[in-house]
């Protein structure tokens, strides 16, 4: 027959409806779900040859006719009273009365109504004053009678009502009158095999703590409501709620928190009592602890307030003396209390860092800084305690701060606590025979000689030190030079934990990125690269993070053309490094070294050094300008505040004076900004995307530029490649073998032979690249062309020939650029290039 097929075909375009029929008992029977259509009756009932229109509902599954209704112009609406017909557009007129018998209908209405009906339904529920009272009554009856079917039904109804997500309904059902019963209803989830005991949990197990009794009843009621709504959201209906409902529940909680905090903070007697008890000597330790926990909740809930109000609250709390109380809390034996104290401090820092800073610089605030340092060095067992490092960083941050406050904090920190940190490192690193281990830094802080400091604490110390290097370049310089602190930090390279060795390497990298010649020369003078090279050699051929970090360090030295370091490293450690010559970075370090000797040998010292000097002078002016514009605050005020102080202070001023007229010779620094920022990540400044972004053509411009800048580097690549390429061809498994070969050949054939054999292989490799590579084509061609003359003279020989002249001129060069002869490269220049590491040590 045509009709059902037709209806089927059109099913998607037709209204989906539910059909109920009133039975003799006055209940509504569900007839099923189907699609509604209007058609001539004759198409169905062929026998009746009428032209009347009829309304049909066909079951959506089996296409049976669920409903046939003859449409007549007169009585259609009256007739509808007989047959309730819910279509998506039909009007939902009234709620069925709440009785056990109507529960199924209520449920169906709830669950199966469309969006427009849901709004209507919400309205009906809200208009019916008795609805919830009756529903809850029914619930209690069902619970008394243990009518599980009824309880399951009520569960579904309540869940359905919550999912209507109406703020007005929430207001009603989360009020004191209904909320516990509502939660009761939700204990009977038919899909969960066991009845849940949420009410019992809320009544018996959850403890509402009152650090200070809250007398305001509406406030109390809001507090309880907030907890219960949160519990309902996170526990009872966690798997049920949709995003929109969760958002609405969250905003209820948010609004409640704002109200509660706001009412309490404006209650001056409450705040006064709070602080009186916190201060009082007669308050027991236990209740003090609770008071601090309360303060934490109070402060953290204040996030729900408006910004201005929140700030005002925190200022008020500070004026009431909250930081004194935190100082007390941080001295507690109870670790949880200490951590809660730091959490409160972090809340203050997030709000306005200057609040805590202004406290710490005051006389009464000084102990707090000490406690924070101590906390950072304390083992908190399983607990995380990153807060200490975080707070210290914020207090010592010189980028976001200005003025005397900052300088005072920094001053106190360096005076009292830096040594403390270093002592922890020296105490927890194996102190070998070596010359580096030494006298204590002689500073104030006393640290128990515990050799069992947790590695993560050492790692935090190292991180803070890196932070200091970036933020207080001058202060750190003075301290590092005077107290041999770099040696001590480098003790970390002896630790078993590789990430600590890596941390030490990064620390060195941070120092070098300051481009401070005093410090750079300090490295050579004190043979500070020995522990790093040792760590590198110890790590062997493993390609891991340590390997990469040290190669990066060498690469940096080479690219930045730090000649004195380059010379020191190759002169002192080449015997050890030579077995890593297959690595491009190691190889090019040597090449750079040779170039350095070569250029200074080939050209006269004068012509080389003079233009350099001029550049330096030009740079100096600009730098001085920038320096005073940018970073001068710190030093000016620092020296001012210190001048009345002590000898140490004077030394500081002196060294600063030198430093300010003493500038890095890096060519980069001509257009000086904080160039090391680019490499470093310690600060979380938003990514200020560099210029390329602004200019669309930049993309094409910048690339040749980059290439050009890279060309001198690329030149050497085939040479660098040597063993390195050989190794690559051999594949990873063979790396060890290749390296072994290298070492063997080194041992068996002294002198230049290993190098030249490798040259042969490298040339063929380059030849391949040349013929087939596309992108690298040009570079390679260029490179290969350069490769030949180089190959004619063995680099080793080349080196030796130029050696005397080169080393002399190189050192002279260093001297002319360096303005401080005492700390200049003199010593290292005296070391013959082929000297052994031992000699280098003795030489310094």
């Amino acid at each position: 027959m045509g009709a059902p097929e037709k209806s089927q075909a059109n099913a998607s375009s037709m209204q989906r409806v539910k059909v109920y029929r009133l039975n003799d008992d006055g209940k509504w029977d569900d007839q099923g779900t189907g699609h509604v259509t209007v058609d001539y009756l004759e198409t169905i009932l062929i026998t009746q040859r009428t032209e009347e229109l009829g309304l049909f509902v066909f079951d959506e599954e089996d296409h049976e006719t669920l409903l046939l209704h003859r449409i007549s112009a007169d009585d259609i609406y009256r007739k509808q009273e007989d047959e309730t017909f819910h279509g998506a557009n039909s009007e939902l007129r009234e709620l069925p009365g709440v009785e056990l018998s109507t529960l199924p209908l209520i449920l169906k209405t709830l669950v199966e109504s469309g969006l427009s009906d849901q709004m209507r339904l919400t309205e009906l529920i809200l208009n019916d004053q008795e609805f919830f009272r009756k529903l809850m009554e029914l619930f209690r009856i069902c619970e008394d009678l243990e009518n599980i079917d009824g309880l399951h039904m009520i569960y579904k109804i309540v869940r359905g009502i919550i999912l209507l997500n109406s703020p007005q309904i929430f207001e009603k059902i989360f009020g004191d009158e209904f909320i516990m019963d509502i939660i009761g209803c939700l204990e009977y989830d038919p899909e969960v095999p066991h009845v849940q005991h949420h009410r019992n949990f809320l009544k018996e197990h959850v403890v509402f703590k009152e650090a200070i009794p809250i007398k305001d009843l509406p406030v109390l009621s809001k507090i309880h409501q907030t907890y219960r709504v949160g519990y309902l959201k996170d526990v009872i209906l966690a798997r049920v709620l949709d995003e929109a409902t969760i958002a609405n529940l969250n905003s209820i909680i948010h609004a409640n928190n704002a109200l509660v905090v706001s009412l309490l903070k404006d209650d001056s007697t409450f705040i006064q009592e709070l602080f009186a008890r916190l201060r009082s000597l007669s308050t027991s330790a236990e209740s003090k602890k609770n008071l601090v926990y309360f303060v934490y909740e109070f402060c953290s809930l204040s996030k729900s307030l408006q910004m201005v109000q929140q700030l005002r609250l925190f200022r008020d709390l500070m004026n009431e003396g909250i930081f004194d109380i935190m100082t007390d809390a941080l001295q507690s034996q109870d670790k949880k209390l200490v951590l809660t104290g730091t959490d409160i401090l972090i809340l203050f820092l997030n709000q306005d860092p200057n609040l805590l800073r202004s406290y710490v610089v005051r006389q009464e605030g000084i102990p707090l800084l000490g406690l924070l340092v101590k906390g950072m060095l304390t083992d908190f067992g399983d607990d995380m305690h990153c807060q200490f490092l975080e707070i210290l960083r914020s207090l010592l941050d010189s980028f976001t701060l200005s003025g005397a406050q900052r300088d005072t904090i920094i001053e106190i920190f360096y005076e009292k606590h830096l040594g403390q940190l270093i002592d922890v490192i020296t105490a927890s690193c194996p102190s070998d025979d070596s010359a580096q281990s030494g006298k204590s830094s002689g500073s104030g802080g006393r640290v128990e000689n515990q050799n069992v400091v947790k590695p993560e604490i050492l790692s935090n110390i190292c991180e803070l030190l890196c932070f200091c290097v970036l933020h207080h370049p001058f202060r750190i310089k003075c301290n590092f030079l005077l107290n041999n602190m770099i040696d001590k930090v480098l003790l970390l390279t002896r630790r078993r934990e590789k990430y600590l060795v890596v941390a030490a390497v990064r620390f060195i990298r941070a120092i070098l990125s300051r481009w401070d010649e005093h410090l750079i020369n300090h490295f050579a003078k004190n043979n500070l690269f020995k522990p790093i090279v040792d760590a590198f050699v110890r790590n062997g051929n493993r390609y891991n993070l340590l390997n990469s970090a040290i190669l990066d360090l060498f690469e940096f030295i080479r690219k930045e053309n730090m000649k004195s370091l380059l010379k020191y490293i190759v002169d002192s450690f080449w015997n050890e490094l030579v077995k890593f010559d297959y690595l491009a970075s190691i190889h090019s370090l040597k090449v750079k070294y040779e170039q350095c000797l070569e250029t200074s040998g080939a050209r006269s010292t004068v012509t080389v050094s003079e233009p350099r000097k001029r550049i330096d002078e030009r740079a100096l002016e600009k730098e001085e300008e920038d320096y005073f514009n940018e970073d001068s605050d710190e030093e000016d005020t620092a020296s001012a505040s210190m001048s009345n102080n002590n000898k140490k202070g004077q030394a500081q001023v002196l060294s600063n004076g030198v430093a300010s007229s003493y500038t890095p010779s890096s060519p980069k620094s001509v257009g000086l900004v904080d160039y090391d920022d680019d490499e470093d990540d310690e600060d979380y400044k938003p990514p200020p995307r560099k210029q390329p972004e602004n200019d669309e053509d930049e993309g094409t411009i910048i690339d040749p530029l980059r290439l050009k800048r890279k060309l001198p580097l690329k030149d050497k690549e085939p040479e660098q490649g040597k063993k390195h390429r050989l190794v690559k061809n051999l594949k990873s498994k063979d790396i060890v073998f290749a390296a072994l070969c290298t070492t063997l050949s080194q041992a068996v054939l002294p002198g230049n032979k290993p190098a030249s054999t490798v040259h042969v292989t490298s040339r063929t490799a380059d030849g391949d690249n040349k013929s087939s590579g596309e992108g690298n084509h040009q570079e390679n061609e260029h490179a290969v062309a350069r490769d030949f003359p180089d190959n004619n003279i063995n680099p080793e020989e080349n080196h030796r020939e130029n050696e005397p002249a080169a080393s002399r001129s190189c050192s002279e060069l260093l001297h002319t650029t360096s303005e401080n002869r005492q700390l200049g490269g003199e010593d290292c220049a005296l070391i013959p290039p082929k000297s052994s590491p031992e000699m280098a040590v003795n030489g310094s």
């Binding site: 959850v206 996170d234 905090v261 067992g381 590789k498 980059r706 596309e774």
Partner: protein, 347 residues
């Protein structure tokens, strides 16, 4: 059952770990990750040699043959089936879509039995970044050789503060300590992977500063993702049809690179193709530049609204490719498990 195994079970139910457990896990992970190289080498599946894989095939045999284990063991059929199934997946972005990642594991096989390579972007955007990352990290600590995690551009302090992971940690733990530990771990993650010397896996793409894999070696990766330079580019760049050579990226970091760049990189490094993630593709995967580079995307219905399917790329011992496409987890299987309620409250 060890603590770690228990934690993995717990995380598989999408229940986050305690702070103290996260701390211990991160410290262990650090020791493992510090030993990895910037170009982490991954082997193709080794057929039939590994005992711990047996149960994986066992499960598949049951489906295929419906005979008992002992029977098959006796008949030696057990072994014959291995070859068919052995394939290790490479997966793209996950973005905290925990339940969809569980679908991924259903499609690809359970972790210790199948080797996984994840190309980064574990966190942000989805609702379960914490659980997603911790599960992957726990698997890494438990089975270091069976799962490789490399870094995506979202494994960064700056990015996670904007796109959700930071807030999620704060919400779920009440403090940002867990975020701090996790972001510290991000710094240790490797930057790329090389499968059997033939397939280069990286999150974003290539860099004008990198023409050979060896140049990646000298990156000190233990740092926040920088704003430019090689490390940044590897995590941020995108291949682009209309670009010849290098172009500016609309993302504000990394570059766009064209087919010629890929050709010369692949040739110079003797690799077959590059497998990367980083860009949503509606079909789950997409080849470009004459099959020299493929994008794999593993977050179905991205952000719970994009309507895309997801894919993983499975490679067998001969590096034969098979893409397995999957859809988002059905609604029923979602939803956060109940949180443990705080036992007391002041306010």
């Amino acid at each position: 059952m060890s603590d770690l195994d228990r934690q993995i079970e717990q995380l598989k139910k999408c229940e986050p770990l305690k702070e103290s457990e996260v701390k211990a896990l991160c410290l262990k992970a650090m020791e493992i990750l510090v030993e990895e190289s910037n170009v982490q080498r991954v082997d193709a599946p080794v057929t039939g040699e590994c005992a711990s894989r047996a149960w994986h095939y066992e499960a598949i045999c049951l489906y295929v043959l419906e005979t008992s284990f002992t029977q098959r063991a006796q008949n030696n059929m057990f072994w014959s089936i291995f070859i068919v199934v052995e394939a290790d997946p490479i997966c793209g972005d996950i973005h905290g879509q925990f339940y969809d990642m569980k679908e991924l594991f259903k499609v690809g096989g359970d972790c210790p039995k199948t080797n996984y390579l994840f190309l980064g972007d574990f966190v942000d955007r989805g609702f379960y970044s914490v659980e997603t990352f911790l599960l992957l990290l726990a698997l890494k600590v438990r089975y270091p050789d069976r799962i490789t995690l490399i870094r995506g551009n979202h494994e960064s302090r700056q990015i996670t503060q904007v796109y959700g992971f930071y807030d999620e940690c704060l919400r779920k733990y009440g403090s940002v300590n867990v975020w701090r530990y996790c972001t510290d771990i991000f710094d240790y993650l490797s930057l790329s992977a090389l499968i059997e010397n033939k397939i280069f896996g990286v999150h974003g793409g290539l860099s004008p500063n990198i023409s050979t894999l060896d140049q990646i070696r000298i990156i000190d990766r233990k740092q926040e993702v920088p704003h430019d330079g090689a490390m940044c580019d590897l995590l941020w760049s995108d291949p682009e049809d209309i670009v010849d050579g290098w172009g500016l990226s609309p993302r504000g970091a990394g570059y766009l690179f064209g087919g010629s760049v890929v050709t010369s990189f692949n040739h110079a490094n003797n690799i077959d193709y590059i497998c990367r993630a980083h860009q949503l593709v509606m079909e789950g995967y997409k080849w470009m530049f004459n099959s020299q580079i493929v994008t794999v995307w593993s977050a179905p219905n991205y952000c719970y609204r994009c309507g895309n399917v997801a894919a993983i790329l499975e490679l067998d011992e001969n590096l034969n490719k098979q893409f397995r496409v999957f859809e988002a987890a059905p609604q029923e299987s979602r939803g956060a498990p109940a949180k443990k309620p705080a036992p007391d409250y002041f306010l």
